[in-house]
Symmetry: C2
Subunit: 685 residues, 2 copies
Amino acid sequence: MSAATADNLLLLFDRPNEPIFTPKGNEKKIIQVPEEYLRGRYKELNSADAVEYRFASGSSERIPVKPIPNPGLALPESLKKDAKFSLFIPLHEQMATQVIDFLLGMKNMEDFWAAAVYFRANLNPQLFNYALSVAMLHSPETQDSDLYPLHSLFPEKFFDGEVLYRAREEVEITRPEADERITIDIDRNFSGSDLDIEHRLAYFREDIGVNLHHWHWHLVYPTSPRDIADKDRRGELFFYMHQQILARYNMERFCNNLSRVKRLTNFRDPIREAYFPKLTATQSSKNWVGRGSNAVMQDISRPEENLFFDIQHLERWRDRLFDAIDLGYVINTKGEKVQLTEKNGIDILGNMVEASDLSINKPYYGNLHNMLHMAIANIHDPDFRHLEFASVMGDSATAMRDPVFYRLHMAIDDIFQTYKSTLPGYPVQELYFRNVRVNKLSVQVEGKDENQLFTFWKKSAVNLSNGLDFIERGAIYTNFIHLQHQPFTYNIEVSNQGSERKGTVRIFIAPKYDERGETLLYKDQRKFFVELDRFTVDLSKGTQMIKRKSEHSSVTIPFERTYRDLGKKRPGFGERLERFNFCGCGWPHNMLIAKGTETGYPCQLFVMVSNFADDEVEDDSSSDECKDAMSYCGVRNKKYPDARAMGFPFDRNAREDVTTLEEFMTPNMKVTDVKIFHLGNKIDS
Amino acid sequence: MSAATADNLLLLFDRPNEPIFTPKGNEKKIIQVPEEYLRGRYKELNSADAVEYRFASGSSERIPVKPIPNPGLALPESLKKDAKFSLFIPLHEQMATQVIDFLLGMKNMEDFWAAAVYFRANLNPQLFNYALSVAMLHSPETQDSDLYPLHSLFPEKFFDGEVLYRAREEVEITRPEADERITIDIDRNFSGSDLDIEHRLAYFREDIGVNLHHWHWHLVYPTSPRDIADKDRRGELFFYMHQQILARYNMERFCNNLSRVKRLTNFRDPIREAYFPKLTATQSSKNWVGRGSNAVMQDISRPEENLFFDIQHLERWRDRLFDAIDLGYVINTKGEKVQLTEKNGIDILGNMVEASDLSINKPYYGNLHNMLHMAIANIHDPDFRHLEFASVMGDSATAMRDPVFYRLHMAIDDIFQTYKSTLPGYPVQELYFRNVRVNKLSVQVEGKDENQLFTFWKKSAVNLSNGLDFIERGAIYTNFIHLQHQPFTYNIEVSNQGSERKGTVRIFIAPKYDERGETLLYKDQRKFFVELDRFTVDLSKGTQMIKRKSEHSSVTIPFERTYRDLGKKRPGFGERLERFNFCGCGWPHNMLIAKGTETGYPCQLFVMVSNFADDEVEDDSSSDECKDAMSYCGVRNKKYPDARAMGFPFDRNAREDVTTLEEFMTPNMKVTDVKIFHLGNKIDS
């Protein structure tokens, strides 16, 4: 059997900070690394006695590697092993792109494997993880392989450093044969206290699944190389996925008696929000630095990362984006005007703002989103004089932990919303579904009153063993506490007076009142609508009851997929539930609905059944996998499966004379008042 | 043989973050910890199978412990194991005092040993290290034992975190039997770059010996308990030792083309100096946080540490100290005036400023020095909302790394200097030594021109093995680069026209020019004089040449004492050179003279021979050990061995009509121009 299997490739992810020649995986396999792949100290040790024999005694299998010539990629190899790798840094993205291109250019799996081993031996571990992940997700031979979830490989990006230390101690002081290891508990409030009002939202910002979603989204939608970045409606999805995060976050804030996020409009203002992540970079002194209150962004000049820009650049890029919106056209690199049309405007803007390789004119419209991230991430050391790396804001796997992430994205979203406000409100005929009426809408938790939802705290365990260097093998679990909700069912009664047709059911939820307790008007409320589900139904003639379970949401991925333990129970290929490649992208199911309040948080549940004939997307590819979380992540290798604007019907201001949600409604829509109760005193384990 | 030996006590310091029951020391001894000493997880494991057998297989010896009843010290036991312990926090000092009192109250060594084992098992490791160190230094049975130097136990407080990770990897990937471990090099510029002008002084601030000196000084001179704090002229020594650090630091600054340290006079001003220590707290997420530019001190309200004070308190304490100086008296706790006399004024002030238990009125004069440290150390999280611990400024072992330490101490020194300026200049008859004249003064480096001194970079190694938890035993060395100088000899020609007498030779060095290149006037230059040596000579009649070697300095301790490797070569008791108890206090010899410049930094070397009859101190105790570094550290169990004011003759402004050093001189003094050359291109290894 060839060594070039996806299973063996996965071994290259294991314990990313250990050298290539230590035993890999629970079976302690040894990779027979060609000696010409070794550098420095490892080469020295190898010349004394081949490194593959160093740890081979406890090992079950040795995996051969056919040497390939040195890839000659000096740029990616120049990134120090203990540096922080950040996709927001164009230089780092360029490094990753070179590696991804090289891997995807291999003529067969044998060479792919050999090249992957080479890179494992010679690249920064985070750069390697990203590049091999993207390459595997986008190569036909490997795209079905399971990837380890990032938190199991780089627990330092997800877990309190103290917990990692205690896990390591537990392994050291217990005997493997005695099966006596206990699970280490994580303190829910490890990063702060409620004296900081922003800490009330820590359960959302620090949720492991939320951060995995964000990391995975950027893995599925890299901004480069262009042929990988060039996915259907990618720019629009960038807008929509982040807009939905904000809608969710604002609703959580209301539940916690906080007002909506303040946009970061003035880049010169001190940033009031502080954040100290308590994450420890175990392999170096390059810790995840905290940010105190009232830090001020500075011009960035960091030669190590080839990162140079001023606050004035950020301001000009932002102003040029608003110029484009207010004038109705963008200017491409040839100096030509390109109209922002109803159809493509948001997608063009999304690619310009982020900015991906699809940006219509990167020299002119710049790189606002990524550079804003970096300006904040380097606020403590803008010119690298202190040799400090980026804060959590510089890494897509950690950025959502920081309160300022949401202020940044509210400013970004403001650009998109300003554009959306230039579009005419949907006329009734675009909203209307002739002869279809929604008569009734309710949600039901089994055994409870109608229209009451329930959330609670739940304790779950994850295995840290694959991410803790140099400790004895065998699982070591940590317990974390996260939000969860009781499963519920949507009951939607629809009458169809016309012929048999297909309809798209769109389910949203929004707060009923704003932070002052006033009823929300449509123009505000529309931005707070959180998509819960979207699916197709066959509408027979007459009245029918559509029942849909919460766990089938098109927004979320199952809890088990996020937290599965590859080390413990390796699924075979094709085993659906455990898949975590493209399918790993998706909002974590445990965060489907907001926390609510103990007295019941008043929301409005909204359903619309639209005409599938208007929603359908032509796509001749046959694959139909990984659409579980299509609302925020799309569908692999396919067009986005909904012809409507993302967020429809709430993506625009309403038609004239509509000020309330009630006035906005057409007969194919229905709204129901729902309360979300938080069972705060209960921790389910 | 009893288990209660000093050797066994030393095992309790080894690998401070490992549990009590892991093998200790290179001989892997097992401490038979009584089961009633164990708590929590350790107790659980013990009930399954006594923990002492867990690691006993590779161990040579088991050490019995006679159980003592629970000491019932709830306060010190309440400090979490991963909390940062700080002597500057009164609550922590109180914890340490309880433990020290308990240990010193043990009626025999057997009980002392048993109690020490109890505390090792149940206290925060840093608190334990401090309390046992102070108890051992102050107990007659143990005061001669060697203590591990702190950097070998807590390398995280001294070394770049990256180096510790690399050391650990080196141990993991090499085979103990093959003797193939290499020494890990530390990058000299690990904490910053010269873009930060303050980084030019990193070699001084981050010198291991400099920080060990500061830590050890505070170990020898604790502020509490009172009977230990109450050492001869302790308050004055607090002033003088820190004043000398500042003189040294300012001279280093001049050598590096920087102006003298700016006093921290306005506690409300943003602090321009930033510092990112790159130290990693390995056992927790409580990293050594950095401080960005322009942080502003806030009122402190940290319940966890029972630490509550405002900036207004700091200001009032400072103002009351100046009131006392300008009025000439302090007010004691009974409301009585106590005059500040020429004899005791500086000592009273020193104890008030720090403030030790000897403070004459702590409620009124407060705790300025320690609370200033804590205000800066907690600048990032003044009210503990972010659960952040103190920065390097909160620990005497790390505070000298931070540029702001010197600004703080310049403000503190300003108080003392203001007081000193109220004293009359020494009249000639106090400076004069009848019939004694210094004819000539020079320094000589062997083989070089007269009056030229030479510094260079030297590479030295230390063993980290005792401080890295859970790794294989056996030395693992790291190389660090530090300043060093070529040894030199002072040649002092003295003529004595009177009878045979004793004289005290006092040698100082100071910059000749200020940061503008102007010749320093006496009133400024006196504060820049750095004491190099002080010793007694017999003056026979006639002319004689006094030769004194630089390595005998009364200020420094030998390099070998600072960096000795207890694990490698354990000295027997009484083996002088390796002693590191009281004797561990002292300026590191490698930092005796400033770095100089490549073209030769112009200094003035000063010698004075004073009349020993006026200097002599009556002391009937016979011991005469550990006086190597008496200038800054005093002599163990004895009075400070010089009746003169510390810093004499430069501790006061000059008598009237004196503006230059030349005018200040009496015949028993001599000044010589000396240049310090830095051989920058040479690293000696």
